[in-house]
């Protein structure tokens, strides 16, 4: 089945409900943990492969609903690094499904362009079979200029692995002298995650009644509304989505306040760190010049100057990282 199922026109009731919801805040970015495919298969006495296929169809449908509502970014947890622990048969089956679906995507380029969809695949892609890496790379490379809607597929991903990758990048940056250790802060860690190009996650929806995050977007979901829905993923309906949006609207203000307070705290810590760095520099100058008095004139302008240099340094580092990541995809597409 296609990524773009035949469009079922919204019923008048759905149109009215969507209209009412849009009078309030609509989340820009929704994350889904699409849980329950296997239980759905057992419940309906079909095999697991069928269950996963139904799950994929539901994903395609949900993307359409999101676009209609004005949700422009969706992130889904398709395959966890932990899932490699499953039986070889099931892993192979999931890899085959991925192979088919990403290939199919490449055949539907017109539709993708028409809808302006950008596809990103986040995770440790080097763990995947080479041919899947190449297909994914082509899909990502081909759609990267689209901006109307964004689909982030977490594949061979766990949040802890993402955070560790970010830590390794920053540590490497310090080792190579591109950035200083004092430049490492929450903001930089975020800019080095696989999700660095994504907007903040507004709501995380998990289906099938499980109430945990299972290593998905642990860092990002610190200030995200959580919605645990009891329905199995292949049975997720547009009404569940509407209910989730209502849930988001009820929580958005409080979460936003907490997020802003976190931002204020970050800025305070940054100022403190900058002050400390300037003072250390002044101490050094004192020792070199043998001056007994510290030159604290124009302290504020020194801090501003330092902050400017620091921002530039960090920006170069982040740009370098993003270039490297883009080149990974380019290299794989050139092989074809």
């Amino acid at each position: 089945m296609s990524w773009f199922p035949e469009r079922n026109n919204q019923t008048w009731l759905q149109k009215i409900c969507a209209g009412i919801l849009k009078a309030g805040p609509i989340p820009n970015h929704v994350a889904f943990i699409m849980d329950g495919n296997r239980r759905f298969a057992t419940k309906n006495s079909i095999d697991r492969a069928q269950g996963h296929l139904q799950g994929f169809n539901k994903l395609a449908q949900t993307l359409e609903w999101c676009l209609d509502l004005g949700i422009s970014e969706v992130t889904v947890y398709a395959f966890s690094i932990e899932n490699f622990k499953r039986s070889k048969d099931e892993v192979d089956c999931l890899m085959e499904l991925a192979r088919q679906k990403f290939s199919k995507l490449l055949h539907e380029k017109e539709m993708i362009e028409k809808h302006g969809i950008c596809i990103r695949v986040l995770g440790q892609l080097t763990l995947l079979p080479q041919d899947i890496q190449e297909t994914i790379a082509e899909a990502v490379y081909f759609t990267k200029h689209n901006t109307r809607a964004i689909l982030n597929v977490c594949f061979a991903y766990t949040a802890r692995d993402d955070i560790c990758t970010s830590m390794r990048e920053m540590t490497n940056g310090v080792k190579q002298g591109i950035i200083k250790q004092s430049d490492i802060n929450e903001e930089l860690l975020e800019k080095c995650l696989y999700t660095s190009q994504c907007r903040k996650v507004d709501i995380l929806i998990r289906t099938s009644g499980e109430v945990r995050l299972s290593d998905f977007l642990l860092w990002e979901s610190a200030y995200t509304c959580l919605a645990f829905v009891k329905v199995l993923w292949p049975e997720f309906s547009i009404w569940h989505l509407y209910a989730a949006v209502l849930h988001y609207q009820r929580n958005s203000q409080a979460v936003e306040v907490a997020r802003q307070n976190n931002q204020i705290e970050r800025e305070r810590l940054q100022r403190e760190s900058d002050h400390k760095c300037i003072l250390e520099e002044l101490e050094e100058q004192m020792q070199i010049k043998g001056d007994k008095s510290r030159d604290t004139s124009n302290f504020q302008s020194k801090v501003a100057q330092y902050a400017k240099i620091r921002n530039h340094r960090v920006q170069c580092f982040v740009d370098g990282l993003n270039r490297r990541r883009a080149q990974y995809f380019e290299k794989l597409t050139c092989k074809n």
């Binding site: 009078a23 622990k85 499953r86 560790c164 499980e210 109430v211």
Partner: protein
């Protein structure tokens, strides 16, 4: 404009039904308040035995303003009575952390009320991260049950991971560590050394905001997240019902 009015009305209806639900939920509990507190710890223990599984570490994430330290202390003491070894308490602005003395006092009071004659068998020590203030209630070593309460705040979450990165940086620069060694298991050991707490098995989100608002993001990887509408005036029965739901959950670990 009409849609805005309808939406507002819809939100009022939802808020009202949530309020009614909480009210109805707490009515059976009103009876509970009346019955005798004698042998409360014995009844808590027998309730615990009926649970299929008990968490080792419970995280209390309080997303309400205005705290009742008395009620927080009650939840902690009930947890310890059930056999839970670690409790962490979190609030968004770090207020409980700054006023941990108040919590400590209320834990004392609640311990006396709940455990009565068995009080000496339980030791509950309170620590505030990076600033361990262990409160030993009994020094004689005859405690059969030790529990630790750890008060955490936002800086123990994301900021702590930033600090961990700083530590790894130093280790790498001193050639004590390779960059490739920064993997989830090593970061995990590093964090364990700081907090000396296992990951929370159960997180109880207390209040009406459905977000963890910065609570230990690294450690909640596999935590079950359950809810209590409020901690103020919370009754043991409400706490027990959360533990019952936890007892029924099943983890598949990605398999």
């Amino acid at each position: 404009m009409i849609t805005a009015i309808i939406l507002r009305f819809l939100h009022y209806v939802i808020a009202l039904s949530v309020f009614m639900h909480d009210l109805i939920f707490s009515i059976p509990n009103l009876y509970g308040m009346v019955y005798s507190k004698k042998n409360l710890v014995a009844s808590i223990r027998s309730d615990a035995k009926l649970l299929k599984k008990l968490p080792m570490h419970v995280g209390l994430v309080i997303v309400e303003n205005n705290f009742s330290y008395r009620d927080i202390a009650n939840i902690i003491v009930w947890s310890v009575a059930m056999g839970i070894s670690y409790v962490s308490v979190y609030d968004i602005n770090g207020e409980i952390k700054r006023n941990s003395i108040l919590l400590q006092q209320q834990i004392e009071r609640s311990k006396q009320e709940t455990f009565a004659s068995e009080e000496t068998k339980f030791e509950i020590s309170l620590s505030v991260s990076n600033n361990k203030k262990n409160v030993a209630n009994n020094e004689d070593g005859s405690c059969s049950k030790q529990a630790r309460v750890h008060v955490v705040a936002a800086e123990d979450g994301r900021q702590n991971l930033v600090q961990a990165t700083h530590s790894f940086c130093e280790l790498v620069n001193n050639n004590q560590y390779l960059i490739e060694d920064i993997v989830p298991s090593s970061v995990d050991s590093h964090i364990q050394k700081i907090f000396q707490l296992p990951d929370p098995d159960l997180v109880i989100l207390v209040g009406h905001i459905d977000s963890l608002l910065g609570y230990l993001p690294w450690q909640i990887r596999l935590s079950e997240i359950l809810k209590l509408p409020s901690h103020k005036g919370v009754n043991y029965k409400a706490f027990l019902s959360v533990m019952n739901i936890y007892g029924k959950t099943e983890q598949r670990f990605g398999k």
